[in-house]
């Protein structure tokens, strides 16, 4: 067995739970000084640990979590989903109603006849608004006079 005490590095490895080389491990197993250093560290760390909780405290926390898991949140989520679905359907109703409203079919012949009639009576009003025509060609003026002189 080696008489050499553990170095800081070896002690740190020992404390960290790592395996030591065989020779070092044999020394550590029997050396009072090395055991003392290890025990001091572990004793201080054990004393530094936070205190353990009361059993009742953990039970209360556990039951609260279980309650939220098994019953608390799921129905609420379903309620919100149902409410959102109803709102969506209500918002959709006018659109559906509009889509389903009967639309009169256009008769192409009738439209062509109306356009022809309009063009025959006053071709200019079919092409531009009446106000514009009034400005360009005043009703009382000479429409064929050749414009501004």
């Amino acid at each position: 067995m080696s008489e050499r005490h553990l170095t800081d590095e070896e002690l740190d490895r020992w404390l960290s739970g790592e395996e030591l080389d065989q020779e070092v491990a044999e020394h550590a197993a029997t050396c009072l000084l090395c055991w003392h250093r290890r025990a001091n560290f572990l004793g201080a760390v054990a004393a530094a640990r936070a205190p353990e909780p009361e059993a009742a405290t953990l039970e209360r926390w556990r039951e609260t979590a279980l309650e939220r898991w098994s019953g608390g949140s799921a129905p609420r989520h379903r309620w919100w989903l149902a409410a959102a679905a109803v709102l969506f359907l209500v918002a959709l109703l006018p659109v559906v109603a509009h889509l389903r409203a009967p639309r009169a079919d256009l008769d192409a012949e009738t439209v062509v006849q109306e356009v022809d009639t309009l063009l025959a009576s006053d071709p200019l009003t079919a092409l531009a608004p009446e106000e514009l025509l009034e400005t360009v060609v005043p009703a009382g003026g000479n429409a064929t006079g050749g414009g501004v002189s």
Binding site: L15, R37, A50
Partner: protein, 200 residues
């Protein structure tokens, strides 16, 4: 009542795999047993990583709830213990980040939270000088742990305050064992130096 007690005993004897499968199917008794098996570990992790009592309560409960809600995501990959510790550590990190806190461990252990380890030592040991020395060393340990970089602090806490092995720590933190050893070495070196200063 007798039926319930018998059912509880049966659940208590189930393997973890069977409990997980039953809890996934919504079995409350199985979920309760799962939490019961790991609640102390989760508490130790949170209590030693978080400075405020109210944060500890909130994060422990959130860990329980999240573990149950995400059971389907676990699906037997690794150990449930490492998985639930990983959830706890992540929630602790989130809480610290949100509060922008560095972990603080009071130098004196509060009496109202349960039996003080040093008091237990006092009850066993008649040597007041030795007790005072351990008390001082414990304070130095808390101070040094508080000053460690976050990853070293997590590794040290999981090893010495939650009693996890190196591989379990690696699995919980999502790193390889070599990384855990490196962080643990550095942390132990600093903390041990402080202890040896107080307890030559």
């Amino acid at each position: 009542m007798a039926t319930l007690a018998r059912r509880d005993r049966q659940v208590g004897e189930e393997t973890e795999g069977a409990l997980l499968a039953a809890a996934l199917g919504g079995d409350r008794a199985a979920a309760q047993e799962l939490l019961l098996r790991h609640q102390l570990l989760v508490y130790r992790v949170c209590r030693n990583l978080l400075p405020r009592d109210q944060d500890v309560e909130a994060v422990v409960q959130e860990t329980f709830l999240r573990a149950l809600k995400k059971l389907h995501a676990f699906a037997g990959a690794g150990s449930f213990q490492s998985w639930i510790v990983a959830i706890a550590v992540n929630l602790c990190r989130d809480r610290l980040r949100r509060r922008r806190l560095v972990p603080f461990v009071p130098l004196e252990t509060p009496d109202e939270d349960g039996p003080d380890p040093i008091s237990r030592l006092e009850a066993r040991s008649p040597d007041p000088e030795r007790v005072a020395m351990v008390r001082q060393a414990a304070s130095l340990v808390r101070r040094e742990v508080q000053r460690l970089p976050s990853r070293q602090r997590e590794v040290f806490t999981l090893r010495f305050f939650a009693d996890l092995g190196l591989e379990d720590i690696a699995a919980a933190l999502g790193v390889d064992v070599g990384t855990v050893k490196t962080h643990l070495h550095r942390a132990v070196h600093r903390v041990r130096a402080a202890v040896e200063e107080a307890m030559p």
